[in-house]
Symmetry: C2
Subunit: 83 residues, 2 copies
């Protein structure tokens, strides 16, 4: 079975996000003043083969926790759907 995983890796809430701050400033310069918070992270799409949804989920968990996210500073969320 083929699955598509949509993964978001974001800086943890307590962690400063200088890139987000810079974008907020940029938005203000564009005239978009009503933005109160901007956070920037990574979005990853994975296409993978697995025998079952549970197996696919385990692969995605491993990929996120061992490679894609730095668990000290980042959190990840993902959704999995059959392709």
């Amino acid at each position: 079975m083929k699955f598509i995983a949509e993964i978001n890796v974001m800086p943890q809430k307590e962690i400063l996000d200088p890139q987000g701050k810079a974008v907020k400033l940029g938005l203000h310069n564009l005239g978009i003043d009503d933005v109160s918070d901007v956070r920037i992270g990574k979005h990853i799409t994975l296409a993978l083969d697995a025998d079952s949804e549970a197996a696919a989920q385990q692969q995605v968990e491993t990929a996120c926790s061992k490679l894609l996210a730095n668990m000290i500073m980042e959190d990840y969320t993902y959704s999995l759907k059959e392709a």
Copy 2:
């Protein structure tokens, strides 16, 4: 009204994604061999104030097309919900 926009900015399909290729290789080294495609982009969350959903949508469109995405090489998608 307060809104949260969840924005994904991804490299266009025709564009090579060297970062995605590197991650795919890294996943194979981790023992996750059944991954056929990896694409990496940005995920941005914006908290904004607007009078209506339509106004919020317009602000997000402006932010995406003028600042967050390089329309030559990237595409964006977003979802908007009331906070």
